[in-house]
C-alpha cells in the first residue's frame, strides 16, 4: 500500500520569529515526504511556505514575538495544502523598497511561480495564505480532463 493513499494533517502554532522559519520548512518537508512528493516539489513548497511565513512574521505580527504563526499542512492523494495564518492585517505588506531591493514583491511572485494555487485572504483575526501543490499524477489527470473542453 502506498503511503500516499492516506490523509495527513498537521497543525502547529509557532512563535513569530525568523529563527523559526527553518522549523516551518522542516515540518512541511516531513509531511510532504510522507505524502509521497518528490524532491523538487518539496524544495519548491519549502520556499513558498518560507516566503509566506516571513511575510507573516514581518507584517502580520503587530506584537512581534508575542504573536504566533499558525500553520496547517494537509495532504490527500492528489495534493498538499499549506495554510499560513498570522495575527495582523494585510494592508502593510505591499512592496516597500526604502531604496533597497525589495524581496517582498519577489516573495509573493515566488509563491505563485512555485505553487499551483495561491490565495491570500484577510480575516478579522489575521491573514491566511493558502498554498496548494498538485501531485504530478493529479496534474496529468487534470490536463486529460481539460482536453475535450478546449
Amino acid at each position: 500500500m502506498g503511503m500516499n493513499n492516506h490523509h495527513v494533517k498537521r497543525r502547529l502554532d509557532i512563535k513569530s520569529h525568523r529563527k523559526n522559519l527553518s522549523l516551518i520548512r522542516q515540518e512541511v518537508e516531513e509531511v510532504a515526504e510522507e505524502c509521497g512528493f518528490g524532491e523538487t516539489d518539496i524544495y519548491q513548497m519549502k520556499v513558498a511556505v518560507s516566503e509566506a511565513a516571513a511575510n507573516a512574521i514581518e507584517h502580520g505580527s503587530p506584537h512581534g514575538e508575542e504573536n504566533f504563526i499558525h500553520l496547517v499542512i494537509e495532504c490527500d492523494p492528489d495534493k498538499i495544502l499549506i495554510e499560513v495564518a498570522d495575527e495582523g492585517v494585510f494592508k502593510a505588506r505591499l512592496p516597500v523598497t526604502n531604496g533597497r531591493p525589495s524581496h517582498r514583491g519577489r516573495g509573493i511572485f515566488l509563491m505563485t511561480a512555485l505553487m499551483d494555487e495561491v490565495s491570500i485572504t484577510e480575516h478579522q483575526e489575521g491573514t491566511v495564505v493558502r498554498l496548494v501543490k498538485l501531485k504530478e499524477s493529479a496534474k496529468d489527470q487534470e490536463q486529460r480532463q481539460q482536453v475535450p473542453m478546449v
Partner: protein
C-alpha cells in the same frame, strides 16, 4: 605565496545553520564561501558582512554558494544588492551554484539574465578563470 582565510561569521539556528568564510589571496579575486540555508533569518547578518567587505574596496567578488542547500527571496535580494554595490566600483559578482533547486529559483526570478554585472558558474575554478581573464581583481 601568502594568503589568508578569515572566518567572518558563523551563525547557528536551532534547526539550520549558515557559515561564511572569506578567502583572499594576493592578486586573486576574493572568494566569499557561504554554506547552509540562506533565508530571511540569516540574511541580515550575512548582508552586513558581505557589504562591509565589498565597501572595503573589494570591487569584484566570487560568491561561492556551492554548499548552499536552500535560498529564498532574501538570498536573491542579497545577490542583487551585491551586484548593485560592486557595479559602481567597477567590479563584477561571480556566483557559483551547483544545487539544481537553487539554480531553478535563480532562473524563476530572472537573476540569471543580469549578464552585465554578474555571471553564474558551476565551480570556483571556472569563476576565477573567467573573471580574472576579463578583469583583474580590484584588490591588489
Amino acid at each position: 605565496m601568502i594568503g589568508w582565510i578569515a572566518i567572518l561569521w558563523r551563525g547557528n539556528t536551532e534547526e539550520g545553520e549558515a557559515n561564511l568564510e572569506v578567502q583572499v589571496l594576493p592578486g586573486r579575486i576574493p572568494i566569499i564561501d557561504v554554506d547552509g540555508e540562506i533565508d530571511h533569518y540569516v540574511v541580515p547578518e550575512l548582508e552586513s558582512k558581505i557589504m562591509a567587505f565589498i565597501n572595503e574596496g573589494h570591487a569584484s567578488v566570487i560568491l561561492d554558494f556551492s554548499d548552499v542547500s536552500y535560498i529564498d527571496s532574501a538570498g536573491i535580494a542579497l545577490i542583487i544588492l551585491s551586484i548593485q554595490r560592486s557595479g559602481p566600483l567597477g567590479g563584477k559578482v561571480g556566483l557559483v551554484v551547483t544545487n539544481e533547486n537553487v539554480i531553478k529559483i535563480l532562473e524563476i526570478v530572472g537573476i540569471t539574465k543580469l549578464a552585465e554585472a554578474f555571471s553564474l558558474y558551476s565551480s570556483v575554478d571556472e569563476a576565477l578563470a573567467s573573471m580574472t581573464g576579463e578583469r583583474p581583481s580590484g584588490n591588489e
